[in-house]
């Protein structure tokens, strides 16, 4: 049953991707990106990765869609069509080659859910055994992210902060003549 649901979701993902390529209205494309994220979130949820699914739904389907729509509102939603076959052949070959290389790379990966996979024998057993004693909170993901990997999370927050500052420096602030006086 689970296999069936995942297969259907993956088929939808592929269909969405093809639709994104074929469509020329960027508003529709942005909405389809949102659909794509939501489908991914569903796949993650079925794989029992609740936190990842949550993030994908909130960031990928939510915030990113709004930001892309704001961008499209500035740039316009039409794509100019290019004539000629030669221009599309090289990118197609490149993309196919990269895709094949990626698929080839997955052949070396341990199969999904394999208990003997190296990732399950590194620090994961220690977290599973010790975090209820050391940290004592039920959501192990939270204890790993906030406590065991506190440095990592601090770095991520700093990256988010820096991104905000960067956007503000590039786009924000001074261009609004006379408007800041009111606020």
């Amino acid at each position: 049953m689970e296999q069936l649901i995942v297969s259907v979701l993956l088929a939808f993902l592929a269909a969405t991707a093809v639709a994104v390529i074929r469509l020329h209205n960027l508003f529709t494309v942005v909405m389809l990106f949102g659909v794509y994220s939501l489908l991914s979130a569903s796949v993650f949820l079925i794989m029992d990765a609740g936190d990842v699914a949550f993030t994908e739904a909130a960031v990928g389907a939510g915030i990113t869609t709004v930001l892309m729509l704001s961008t499209v509102a500035l740039t316009g939603a039409r794509v100019r069509r290019r004539k000629g076959r030669a221009r599309t052949l090289l990118p197609l070959a490149l993309v196919s080659l990269t895709g094949l290389a990626l698929v080839w790379g997955t052949l070396d990966l341990p199969s999904y859910g394999d208990p003997d996979a190296p990732i399950h024998h590194h620090v994961a057993p220690r977290y599973i055994e010790q975090s209820p004693v050391e940290i004592g909170i039920p959501n192990m993901v939270a204890s790993i992210l906030a406590s065991y990997r506190g440095f990592d999370t601090l770095g991520e927050v700093t990256v988010v902060f820096t991104a905000g500052l960067g956007v503000l420096l590039l786009l924000g602030g001074r261009r609004k003549r006379g408007e800041d006086d009111e606020g």
Binding site: A58, E134, T153, V157, F161, V167
Partner: protein, 139 residues
């Protein structure tokens, strides 16, 4: 941006619920999926919804940009500050064991504070980015 009364009424109904859900994700993150990052994004999406329906200018008046920038900095400072406190108490940086008398209680306190810092920064930065993008097209 929109003057549609249906949108306005629906948004007014939804915004408090979204904010409440964000607070739940923030403070229930130790027990259920979620945490500061997700909560921050959800809280920001409530503000963005307000901005989309009632206009970015009005949202900017509710939450001035200067305040958002300070909130983003405050979140990082809170996170880093927790680390400094644990340093001052004689432990390693970000070792929450020493924040309270009992190591497990210290971990709880540390995680709650750190997640709060993450939530504050993420909310503020998402709103800042939205304001920066949406505030541009108006001339």
């Amino acid at each position: 941006m929109s003057r549609d009364p249906v949108l306005k009424v629906t948004a007014k109904f939804l915004i408090p619920l979204i904010m409440l859900f964000a607070l739940y994700v923030q403070f229930h993150g130790e027990y259920s999926p979620g945490g500061g990052f997700q909560a921050g994004v959800i809280f920001a999406s409530a503000i963005i919804l307000y901005g989309l329906v009632f206009g970015v200018e009005q949202a900017r008046q509710v939450l001035p940009l200067a305040f958002m920038v300070r909130q983003a900095a405050a979140g990082v400072l809170l996170f880093g500050g927790v680390g400094v406190v644990s340093l001052l108490r004689g432990g390693e940086y970000l070792n929450y064991n020493l924040l309270a008398a009992d190591p497990v209680a210290g971990q709880h306190l540390g995680i709650i504070l750190v997640e709060l810092g993450v939530g504050l920064t993420v909310t503020a930065v998402m709103v800042i980015i939205f304001f920066a993008f949406a505030g541009r097209g108006r001339d």
